[in-house]
Structures are given as structure tokens and as C-alpha cells.
Symmetry: C3
Subunit: 155 residues, 3 copies
């Protein structure tokens, strides 16, 4: 079995630097077996390449790429905290928040950009997770997608 | 004491088929004692009988019925996973997401459609839960209500 | 080391009465070491001094004060349940929901009103937390900020 890091390499993906802690909050808190990840955005080279609302400014394919990039940032935060991604026993839960025009109703298609990456990296048994994919009125810095999540670690 | 299933029968309610897992996510993940339920919608006979926004398209009574139907779907997912609903030690937390026109401010009245059902089925001690009931800009398939939740199971 | 209650007193802050349980939900549920707090609003003397949307009706400084007041209410609920705030081992996670005009993108500045208070009361090690700060289409009673959270308690 390939490790999650080997799977990332096979897919030609590289984890970014974990996003810096801003002010009085942090990117991750671990309690017992549960790792709680803060809301992450689509950060690349210190900027936000995906901004604007789905349904008006941004199309679904761009939204999906934004969700993919958010998840790379989350995995960077997670690896920075736990060392090896193989310590993940199960991806538990994502809340995928999509910056949405009131008429936009395809949040699940956007969220798949994150969910598909997780299954691809961790495999079906560990990677499939509970999820909500919903439409927000607005997000910080007008980013198109923000995701928070819970991961279970091995004992 | 009636079991939760007996209470459902007394109320003339039937659990639907658990909603099918769609793509790379699942309806529920259990970690130790905590069951994390994915965002569920108001599914009936494979369709969505409640769509549109509260405050413009849908009135509060319809919203409450939508929340009630969402909770039946959540209980179906939960029972499918754990066998008997009596294994629930406590309903812990709901996030009730109401598809809302920006002027709509009665999300709690809508959410009661789910909360009242839980207390009715599980009783006060097990059924009363922490809750947020909030207004979303948009939801998948334009459903009127989506709910995610956490349930604690017996050891 | 000052206790959290002593820090509150040093800052001239007083916890309000814990907000009353409304209908079929409660302000807090504790499972093992995790305390799950319901969505709280900016309640003062039984009323809501902060209503309206950020980006149209309410400015950032008012929003920050609203978030500060929400957190005092959450701490009141928590203390009422656990007795002494020193039993908090770690603030784990906040979901800061800001009532937002679609153009408003500074939810983090608003959320700092809650996060800064936590670090001030519990110190950096216990007080810094994972957080999402996001824009809602609407909130109950048109309050400007609603926050739910997870706190880890000592064994």
C-alpha cells in the first residue's frame, strides 16, 4: 500500500507550506483521537487564486479546482501537526462552504474537488467521509470556497 | 419505556430508505462514541418535496415540515448504521441550515420541526440537544433545509 | 496563574446570566471530554443590542463588539455547566457566523472579538483555537453574529 505522501507524489501533487497562524487562532487542534481543522481557503504562493461567487463570477470547474486547492492546504496543516499522513485512521467530516449567488445550487459538484482528492490519497475505506456542501452569502477575502474538517487519528 | 422505533410507530411515522451514498462521501461516520451525520436533505420517494427559500418561496409551516422530513432521513441513516436507535445515548448537536432570503429571521421556528421530533422519539433526557439554526444563501438542489448532526452512542 | 474568572474580573467583565434554554434544545451538551456549545447570540439584559448585517447596517467595530458579547454568553453557559472555567483544557473550535451582505469579506476581523477574549481569559496555550469565520445570508432575530463552539475539558 502506498502511503498518502506517495499517492500525492504519484498524482504530481505537492503540499504547500502550511498556512501561517493568523492572530489568535490556529489551523488545527487535536483532542485525543480527533483533529479539528480550522476553516481553510484556497491559498497558493501566499495569494488567493480563486475568488468570487459560484453562480455569478466563478464556474463549477473553477470551484472544483478551488476546493482541491483548499484540501491541499488542509493536508499541509495536518501533516505539519501529525508528521505522517498515514497516522490518519479516517477522514470523518467536512463542512464545505461555497461562496454562492442565491441561485446557485450545485455545491456538491464543487465539493467533489476536495472529496475526490481525499479518497484518491487515503483510499476508499479511510478517505470516504461525512460531508455537508452548502452555500454561504460571503466568505473572507471573497474566496470561492472555505472548508473545515474533522479527521480521526490512529490511537 | 418505549424504544425510539416504537415511538415512531406510535406517531404513525415510518423511516424512509436511508439516502444512498453519493459519490465519494457517505451519510455517517462513527468514531468511538460519536456518530457524525453528513448534511441531509428532505428526501421523499427519491425526490425533494421541499425546495425554495424561506422568506420568499416557502412559509414557516412548510419549512418546519421540511426539517421534520430531514430528521426522518437522518434517523434512517443512523439506524442503518447502528441497528437499534436505542443505542443512542444522547443527541449532541445539530446544525440546521435554512435556505433563507436575506430578510428571513425565523430559522429557530423552522428548526423546531427537527428538534421536536428528536425529543418526541428519544425523550427529554436523551433527545434535547445543542443546536444552531442559521440562514444559508443557497443549498444543493435548492432544498429548503439541510441538517448535519452529532449523536453520542452508548459505550 | 490567574483563573479565567480572575482574568474576567481584571478586565472588568462580568458574565451574564446563561441564556435560557428555549424550546426543545439546550445551550450545551457534554460528551466525555468534549463540551459542544449551541449557537449563541449577542444577548444583553434579555435583548439583542446588535442586529443587522455587516457590510450594510453594521460596521466592523460593532461586529467585533457583538462577537465579544456572544463569547461572554457562551462562557456563561459553559461555567453554568462545568462550575469552574479552569476545567477547560483547551478551546478547540469556533464556527463564527456573521450576518453578511453578499459584498462583506472581513468576517475574520469580526470574529477576533470572540477569539481575542478567549486568549485573554485562558492564555495562549489553552485559549488559541481552530476557527471558521464565515458569512451567513441571515440569522435568527437578525442578530449580527452567532457562534457555536467545542471546548475540551480536563479528564
Amino acid at each position: 500500500m502506498a502511503t498518502p505522501e506517495e499517492r500525492l507524489a504519484e498524482l504530481g501533487l505537492e503540499l504547500p507550506e502550511p498556512p501561517a497562524a493568523v492572530a489568535n487562532y490556529v489551523g488545527i487542534v487535536v483532542v485525543d483521537r480527533l483533529a479539528f481543522l480550522a476553516g481553510h481557503g484556497p491559498v497558493e504562493d501566499g495569494g488567493f487564486p480563486y475568488t468570487g461567487k459560484l453562480g455569478s463570477d466563478v464556474d463549477i470547474e473553477e470551484g472544483r479546482r478551488a476546493a482541491h486547492l483548499v484540501m491541499l492546504n488542509m493536508l499541509a496543516t495536518l501533516k505539519n501537526e501529525i508528521g505522517e499522513l498515514d497516522r490518519v485512521a479516517r477522514v470523518v467530516k467536512l463542512l464545505v462552504m461555497v461562496n454562492s449567488h442565491p441561485s446557485f445550487a450545485e455545491q456538491p459538484a464543487v465539493a467533489n474537488g476536495a472529496s475526490d482528492l481525499l479518497v484518491s490519497i487515503f483510499g476508499e475505506d479511510r478517505g470516504r467521509h461525512a460531508r455537508s456542501a452548502v452555500g454561504m452569502a460571503a466568505l473572507p477575502f471573497d474566496i470561492s470556497v472555505e472548508i473545515e474538517g474533522i479527521f480521526a487519528l490512529q490511537d
